[in-house]
């Protein structure tokens, strides 16, 4: 059983919702990334999404773009991201790590070389924002062959045909983009999400994590009631941006612990 599958099984057995924080590798610095990953786990994260910085992050809002720019300015690369995952793995053998990024750095490294290096580093899943299933069949198969989960997005605009395409190509979990827009936008439509998530869960046979636009304990709790897990990204990046360097770990931990607490107050299974 993969680490991601085990993580969702544990959550399901304990009746808890998954908390999936996103940070960009190398932001605010390469030195702080691994300590941040451990701090997120200590504060209640179940799975970590680690952003691979890219020069042209088209699907991201300004907050994550700034994180990418800071990381790149300090020389972060895909190879270094994989080294950070290896370092993290020395002290944490259980928490799944999902790399999230764009196709070009992976293609520049080479799909086979990347797959092997990611497996060796202890990566569990890979979400490439600009790889819809029909453009990456070979890559998804290679990941699966190496024991990694290819993770795909679904959106409010996705048709049921897309649910099936993504269910066929992907594994691990579905990342449901909760709004039409970029990461960090502020307009969540809870009714829309409440209507869509049960349809998706029923059809794809995988856990559904919801992200884009979740900004606090309250929105996390409302979304958590509907889904298997929530993803929080831009709001953590803002915490990192707005904290003095020596307070980054403490402030991020405090924020995540608050979200964890709110998620754990949800009663019952996802609707």
């Amino acid at each position: 059983m993969s680490r991601i599958e085990s993580a969702f099984q544990r959550l399901s057995e304990s009746g808890r919702r998954g908390l999936i924080p996103f940070i960009t590798a190398g932001d605010p610095s390469a030195e702080l990334t691994v300590p941040l990953m451990h701090a997120l786990v200590r504060s209640g994260a179940d799975i970590l999404e680690l952003g691979v910085p890219f020069s042209d992050p088209m699907a991201d809002g300004p907050t994550i773009q700034r994180a990418s720019e800071r990381a790149l300015a300090q020389g972060m690369t895909l190879r270094k991201v994989l080294e950070l995952v290896s370092t993290f793995r020395r002290d944490d053998a259980d928490t799944p790590v999902v790399l999230m990024g764009y196709a070009n750095p992976i293609e520049a490294m080479g799909l086979a070389a990347f797959t092997e290096a990611a497996r060796a580093a202890g990566v569990d899943g890979v979400l490439v924002v600009d790889y819809p299933p029909e453009e990456c069949r070979d890559f998804a198969a290679a990941l699966t062959g190496a024991g990694l989960d290819p993770i795909f997005l679904l959106a409010p605009t996705s048709t049921e045909q897309r649910f099936d395409d993504v269910a066929e190509a992907g594994s691990g979990y579905i990342y449901y983009v909760s709004l039409k827009g970029v990461t960090g936008a502020r307009t969540l439509d809870f009714d829309e999400i409440a209507a869509r998530i049960p349809l998706i869960r029923a059809r794809v046979g995988m856990p559904v994590a919801v992200g884009f636009g979740i900004r606090d304990a309250e929105s996390a709790q409302r979304i958590g009631a509907l889904a298997d897990a929530v993803v929080i990204g831009s709001r953590i990046i803002e915490e990192i941006e707005n904290s003095p360097r020596d307070r980054v770990l403490a402030n991020v931990s405090e924020f995540i612990a608050g979200v964890r607490d709110a998620l754990d107050r949800i009663q019952g299974a996802p609707q």
Partner: protein, 403 residues
């Protein structure tokens, strides 16, 4: 690798030109692209749509644009005769408007009342704002804040036409960042908004659709060249940034045997300096802005900043069909440096009384290199894709003048 397949029938139904092209976007945009593909597939076969497009091109744009024999310039160079396809004489001063009319007509058919566009130098932005005014549509143009500063006149032009120009502060603050920002707008407003992409790049069906709208350039040349020069040209030469004017003139010639197709990229300060925008000549294949194509990128796959004296060529990617034409050997791609383009700009002004766009001056410069190596009965056809009024500032500054 297949070479020069006859008849040429790319892209496939999912937008692939060999290994290039495709649909590399996040999930939110997939249904919008499918809707667009269906709408375009229906419209491009609809005689009413075609008749309206042709009417607009004739009466609003002023087509057909003439082909002109550049006699003095040819004789000065010695060698081949050079003919110019005068896209500079179109309404708004460049080829860009051909495509904007097609896409705006499609937007109207799809019931979208808001159009957005990205622009570098401002030519595509001006063309989009123009057509939006003509059709009574809301228009938002994204433009890198560096370009907003460099192209103040075009910014004002767009505003006069009623467009809202949004300066983009992220990344390198140039064309690629404007494209990122336009994509973000589209993702956010996908149901009400039509994204008018200005070049033959982006996710399918854009590269095909923009090519089809721009192919009027080459189709006219196929008729005009025999009338004026007695036969088809030996070489067709066009500048390539994203590559829309080049595809427009190349595409109808792909199946014409014996016609060399030469795309001219911006070699900036020279390919060896790294300060250039020659994606096909000096780049590697990768994925950006929704398609797989040649890109200027570093070892790690990060897109690098480009340089060209002409803002319209200052782009780190290129349309996927050019990537395929290069690999298949049907077209050749070369680089022309800033200084060479400037020389051709001045020569064209002085010898022909035509002020070319700096983009087009790259194609002229390559023709000027090639012509003297050919015999007097050889024929070169150069796409003069736009006029240079917008470049007065840049050229004057290079000569040490300021307005």
């Amino acid at each position: 690798m297949r070479t020069n397949e006859l008849p040429y029938s790319f892209p496939d139904d999912r937008g692939h030109f060999g290994p290039y092209g495709g649909v590399f976007v996040s999930e939110t945009l997939i249904p919008a692209l499918e809707e667009l593909r269906a709408a375009y597939a229906a419209s491009c076969k609809d005689p009413e749509f075609i008749a309206e497009f042709e009417y607009e091109l004739k009466h609003y744009v002023g087509r057909p644009s003439p082909v002109y024999y550049a006699k003095r310039w040819s004789e000065t160079l010695g060698g081949a005769r050079i003919y110019l396809k005068r896209e500079d004489l179109n309404h708004t001063g460049a080829h860009k408007v051909n495509n904007c009319i097609g896409q705006a007509m499609l937007a109207r058919r799809m019931g979208k009342r808001r159009v957005i566009a990205e622009t570098g130098a401002g030519q595509h932005g001006v063309a989009t704002a123009t057509v939006a005014a003509r059709y009574g549509m809301e228009c938002v143009v994204y433009m890198g804040s560096e370009d907003v500063k460099r192209q103040a006149a075009n910014v004002y032009r767009m505003k006069l036409l009623g467009a809202n120009v949004v300066p983009v502060e992220s990344g390198s603050k140039t064309l690629k960042d404007a494209l990122n920002e336009a994509m973000r707008d589209w993702v956010t407003n996908v149901e009400s908004t039509f994204y008018i992409i200005g070049t033959v790049a982006g996710p399918h069906p854009y590269p095909m659709m923009v090519r089809d709208f721009q192919s009027v350039i080459g189709r006219e040349c196929l008729e005009q060249m025999p009338e004026l020069a007695g036969r088809q040209p030996d070489c067709v030469i066009a500048c390539v940034g994203g590559g829309s004017n080049a595809i427009g003139i190349f595409h109808p010639y792909i199946d014409v045997p014996g016609v060399r197709l030469i795309g001219v990229e911006a070699a900036g300060e020279g390919l060896a300096t790294g300060h250039h925008a020659a994606s096909l000549t000096a780049g590697r294949p990768g994925v950006l802005h929704g398609n797989r194509t040649y890109l200027l990128q570093n070892e790690d796959g990060q897109i690098i900043e480009t340089h060209s004296i002409s803002a319209g060529l200052d782009y780190p990617g290129v349309g996927p069909e050019h990537a395929w034409l290069k690999d298949s050997g049907r077209a050749e791609y070369v680089g022309i440096a800033d200084a060479e383009a400037l020389q051709a700009f001045h020569d064209c002004c002085r010898l022909e009384g035509i002020i070319p766009a700096l983009e087009s001056a790259h194609a002229l410069a390559h023709a000027a290199k090639l012509a003297p190596t050919m015999s007097a009965d050889a024929i070169l056809l150069v796409n003069l894709s736009g006029r240079g009024d917008k470049d007065m500032h840049t050229v004057a500054e290079r000569s040490g003048l300021r307005f």
